[in-house]
Subunit: 332 residues, 2 copies
DNA sequence: GTGTGGTATGGGAGCGCTTCCGTTTAGTTA
DNA sequence: TAACTAAACGGAAGCGCTCCCATACCACAC
């Protein structure tokens, strides 16, 4: 039989109220009784039931995180960042995926209505943004992470400098003498794709080497789109001296296709990725890339949410954590 | 103001009890009243508060998962498997990491005492096994995943065929004519390391090519240990025609060192890994490896736990899901 | 002695459900 | 027609906390 606050109260010869006060450190109470109660708590090994506390207080001290899939290599980093902050603040992290499509979202919605958690962290809510925005409007505290869609402003979010990161990549390529890059993008509808493309193109424009549309291959962040983009470009005889891929996975695919075709990296073609996933340092050759501060983004998102619980209003403009540029052998 | 069961009861002109019966489908009740109640529930969009249900029933419909770190590439797969099963059964998944050492465990222990969840899934509880075993003894349902330690039997667990998987790797290497493999192991204290080593050595023994201790390099599952193992072996002039690494990451490290030294893969040295992480298909050359059924392991563990909640006793012998062997260009 | 103002504590009504006992009603059966 | 039964439903006591609202006590002023 688990022990309850009543057991502690009885043993310490005080009321449950007093025990509760000791537990939560509020209300004025005599130090000697407090000490006595504390002693009993230790003696009995009493820990308040989170269920009961949750009901009584109306808050669960749990935040949910909705992620697209756990098998993308970078997602784990973001979660790790969030979980570190949450655990340190004694919050729990309930994990949901939208792996099973609408059914997932339906069940997730039920959890929201059931008030299973106090707030929500969302990674890249491809296709579910409207739904999330709706929850937000109904009062659920939400922080978006890396919202690749456009609708910033409506909900608080933390993101990174996609535009500037891509600019750096472009400047670097120019610096190592490349003027005719092939670009392999992410899905067109993603905000990050648009930003990365815009930033990259702008630099080449300014340098007097505008990138023609035929050298922009629309990809989808997969390994396959990287190989495909390069293969097609080679087949159609396009002239390019570098590849800028919108994520590392497709950059690795591109490298593979280049090597298969007998090109040397970086002598013939330089390759730059985006993300800096764990593996990028270990490719052959190691991949120059734009490092995304994934962990920091997870941390910032969690901190924003927790601050909101403490009363700080949710910021209405995105928190931006800058990328950094990592030079490796694939470009020099 | 959120609507409660009382609101529904009032609107449907029945008692809370009846609404509860409709909700949970138990007790006898007239189909017409049930329909009426259901209509009101829909109309009001009522969803029972999980907090209140949890308190009243004494169960949270949440299971916790304790993982060492989310940044290891394979952990995500296991979690994904578990989360898929749990979500389908309308359970939530509370994620904890033991990233911050003892402090993490202390807080985790508090959550256990607070009865924040009904059961626990643990991945590779390096160093925390005793603690977990203790919780298990005190009545917390626990299922271990890939317990790399020895203490099987005491707690239910799901694992894979480390021994047989390594045997297959060995047989494959022999089949492609390699008789002098270099082995790069995981940490010695891990059960999986011992099993993989034993299985691998046994096959070479049987084939009349016993592996001398000097060709076994103790590693730690990192990329670095792979490069190091190979580099040292080459420097000390050891004679080997293949590398068997106990995980893919170190295998990739080994490949890197081999290529750097001018060896060709697989012509000069064949390389086999263990895990089949996402990236292994995309290395240069693609890595032959022992595929671990990570996702399936996560699923099986979750299912075992849920079955236990339904009354099925926890199995006292490990659930074993076999590895499969994936042949790629690094060996032929 | 009455009044006033703290300070330390207790009582008990919730929080939103579940569930154990009834109680009511209608439908048998003798 | 009385007695009994089963089906359908309601009352209210929990579950283990929190927190508002007393209440008791004491010190000090008048």
């Amino acid at each position: 039989m688990p022990i309850t606050i009543a057991d502690v109260a009885a043993r310490a010869k005080v009321s449950k109220t007093t025990v509760s006060r000791v537990l939560n450190g509020k209300g004025e109470l005599d130090e000697s009784t407090a000490a006595r109660v504390r002693a009993v708590i230790d003696e009995l090994g009493y820990v308040p039931s989170s269920r009961a506390v949750g009901l009584a207080r109306g808050r669960t001290r749990v935040v949910a995180m909705l992620v697209p899939s756990l098998t993308w290599p970078w997602i784990g980093e973001v979660i790790q960042g969030a979980v570190d902050v949450l655990e340190a603040e004694r919050y729990g992290l309930l994990l949901y995926t939208c792996n099973r499509g609408d059914e997932s979202m339906r069940q997730f919605g039920a959890q929201v209505s059931a008030k299973s958690f106090d707030g929500l962290l969302v990674i890249e809510p491809e296709g579910t943004l409207d739904y999330i925005a709706n929850l937000h409007r109904r009062g659920l505290p939400v922080v978006l992470i890396d919202d690749r869609d456009q609708i910033s402003g409506e909900m608080p979010s933390v993101g990174t400098t996609n535009h500037d990161g891509a600019r750096e990549a472009a400047r670097h390529l120019l610096a190592v003498g490349r003027t005719r890059p092939l670009v392999i993008t992410g899905p067109e509808r993603f905000g990050c794709t648009q930003q990365r493309l815009a930033g990259f193109e702008a630099v080449f424009d300014e340098a007097g080497h505008p990138i023609p549309a035929e050298r922009v291959h629309q990809g989808d962040f997969t390994y396959a789109c990287g190989t495909q983009g390069v293969t097609k470009a080679l087949e159609s005889g396009k002239d390019f001296d570098a590849v800028f891929a919108h994520n590392d996975l497709s950059a690795i695919g591109a490298m593979q296709a280049l090597l298969d075709s007998g090109r040397r990296i970086p002598q013939d073609i330089a390759v730059v990725g985006f993300d800096d996933i764990r593996n990028s340092a270990h490719t052959q050759p190691p991949l120059t890339t734009v490092h995304q501060p994934l962990r920091e983004m997870g941390e910032a998102a969690a901190r924003t949410l927790l601050a909101h619980f403490e009363g700080t209003p949710l910021p209405n403009r995105p928190t931006v954590i800058p990328t950094s540029f990592v030079t490796r052998a694939s470009t020099e």
